[in-house]
């Protein structure tokens, strides 16, 4: 009898404890970002700011270049999301429903390439972009993310389930392939495209290694690169760094909360891999 009553308490306590541990670092970041300079380094370290202020944020936006980095990250993530979602939608639909020579061979090749880690091509890609004059430009950051094998795979899986009769009927009525895609296929693909869009936006926003390699000029930095650079210079300014972390993390966290359902779906359709 006793164990029966104890078990619900144990399960819920363990769950609540784990959830708290998971978000504690984020809550702490938020709290410290409102503290005044040096407050977090007091002894014992305070959990809440004594007099909450936005000064750290002002400092970051004014002298740290974080306002610019924010706009850079936002623009790059938006462009990369729009372009890659469109290209992946076209290709995913093409591989699922259209017929052309070598279709299945090409797709098998793509799937095979999925095992190659992106870093293997990074060094030569850097040299290629250098030849094209794209090193230290935003275009250089963008180009490799304009289409992804995983994205094509995701759309193809979904598009396989679309009713073929609908497309066939439109074809018999004399509609061209592009017209069919716009008017019939695209609306039907919306759920998977939202999923894909959320994944690419987060992927682009959170990406670190490639923008770190391509961008050398501090004025061009994305948020993660700017934050990493700042953390190497201002190791002692805990409060300033936490404000920077909030600016970096909050937009993606908000986007995730708003579109959680779609994100989880993408995860279940084959693990998050760009």
């Amino acid at each position: 009898m006793k164990t029966l009553k104890l078990k619900p308490v144990l399960v819920n306590a363990a769950l609540a404890g784990a959830a708290l541990l998971a978000i504690f670092p984020l809550l702490w970041m938020l709290s410290v970002s409102f503290m005044h300079n040096g407050e977090a380094s007091n002894y014992p370290p305070p959990l809440l700011p004594s007099a909450p202020s936005l000064d750290r944020y002002r400092e970051l936006l004014k002298s740290g270049g974080f306002g610019r980095a924010f706009l850079v990250s936002l623009s790059l993530a938006t462009i990369s999301t729009l372009v890659s979602t469109l290209l992946n939608a076209l290709a995913g639909y093409g591989f699922a429903k259209l017929r052309f020579r070598g279709r299945d061979t090409l797709f098998a090749l793509l799937l095979g390439a999925l095992v190659i880690p992106g870093q293997v091509g990074m060094l030569p890609l850097f040299l290629m972009l250098k030849q094209m004059g794209l090193v230290n430009t935003w275009a250089g950051v963008l180009v490799p993310s304009m289409a992804s094998i995983f994205g094509i795979f995701l759309v193809r899986q979904y598009a396989m389930g679309l009713p073929g009769e609908l497309i066939e009927a439109a074809r018999i009525d004399g509609a061209g392939e592009w017209r069919i895609f716009q008017a019939i296929v695209l609306p039907l693909l919306t759920p998977v495209l939202v999923t894909l869009g959320v994944l690419s936006f987060l992927g682009s926003w959170n990406d670190f290694m490639w923008p770190l390699i391509v961008l050398t000029d501090g004025n061009l930095y994305t948020l993660p690169v700017a934050l990493a650079a700042l953390s190497r210079e201002h190791v002692q300014d805990v409060e300033l760094m936490m404000a920077g972390a909030v600016i970096t993390v909050l937009p993606v966290l908000a986007l995730f909360l708003a579109l959680q359902r779609y994100y989880m779906q993408g995860l279940l359709m084959g693990g998050v891999k760009q």
Binding site: L15, P45, E177, L223, L267
Partner: protein, 293 residues
């Protein structure tokens, strides 16, 4: 007419294929060639200074202590980090799927939140939480009478700290996959076990774990492949230190390639890592298949 149609149909896949071909396939192939040359700062200035050196980069590499150090560090990270991450994912998924649990959607979101955060930002947070003097973690240790630990400054603790960080950051992703797999386990199995008097732990061992085996294998392979690509954590938290205790293979590639501009040698590092990932994931699959047979 028909020919034209086929061309239109192919045009749907062309833009994506061109992007992937140009910015992924070609670089990977060039990378293999690059790893067979002595491409360095001089070659960057003029390609006349470029020489084909065969396998010299690879031979050089396996003779350097830093390569083995990086490999050892990465293996340490994978061997400890993957089971820890997956164990946490499984534990959290089981708790969340328990019929006794309350507030499930809220708990799930909280547990999942670290996955979507920006790695660089949360790595910075952890650096302060694990600070030797001002960090809350040491504060908590001292409050229960334990000695403070120099988490990121002691070469014995730096990698374990990074492992803890990675487990915290990543466990939510696999948790969602385990949750979906748990939902697919037929409930009458548990019903029958309960009638036979099986306790919770026995049910978990003899029903849940075997039912999750295929999912665990898939998750294990994907996580292992991902963990071999350790880079941003040491870059932000320790810069490879102290005493090179957190230099990973990819960190070595970055340093060789983009700090010292030894792009040929760095390419060899990248391909050795790729080969290693293929070897280890294949091995895992083989072991799992033998276990199943």
């Amino acid at each position: 007419m028909i020919r034209r149609e086929k061309l239109t149909q192919m045009a749907f896949v062309l833009p994506a294929l061109i992007v992937i071909g140009l910015f992924f396939a070609v670089p990977v192939l060039l990378g293999l060639l690059l790893s067979l040359t002595d491409f360095d700062l001089y070659a960057l200035v003029s390609l006349k200074n470029l020489r084909f050196v065969g396998l010299a980069n690879y031979i050089d590499l396996v003779q350097q202590p830093i390569f083995w150090k990086a490999l050892g560090n990465t293996a340490y990270f994978v061997v400890l980090g993957v089971p820890l991450s997956i164990g946490l994912s499984l534990g959290a998924a089981v708790l969340l799927q328990s019929p006794l649990a309350h507030l499930k959607p809220l708990m799930r979101t909280a547990l999942f939140a670290p996955v979507v955060t920006t790695l660089v930002a949360v790595a910075v947070i952890w650096r302060y939480l694990f600070h030797t003097r001002y960090g809350l973690v040491n504060e908590a240790l001292q409050s229960i009478g334990l000695n403070p630990i120099d988490w990121l400054g002691d070469p014995h603790w730096s990698m374990p700290t990074i492992i803890l960080f990675a487990a915290w950051k990543n466990f939510g992703g696999n948790m969602i996959i385990f949750m979906a797999a748990l939902q697919a386990v037929p409930t009458d199995l548990y019903e029958a076990a309960r009638l036979d008097g099986a306790k919770t732990w026995a049910q978990f061992r003899h029903i849940t774990l075997p039912a999750l085996a295929p999912t665990t294998l898939m998750v294990g392979i994907l996580t292992t492949a991902g963990y071999f690509q350790l880079f941003a954590e040491p870059y932000v938290m320790t810069q490879g230190g102290p005493l090179q205790s957190t230099v990973s293979v990819l960190y070595l590639m970055y340093e060789q390639g983009f700090r010292w501009w030894n792009l040929g040698a760095a390419s060899a590092v990248a391909f050795l890592l790729f080969g290693l990932i293929v070897l280890v994931t294949r091995g895992l699959m083989k072991v799992a298949n033998r276990g199943a047979a």
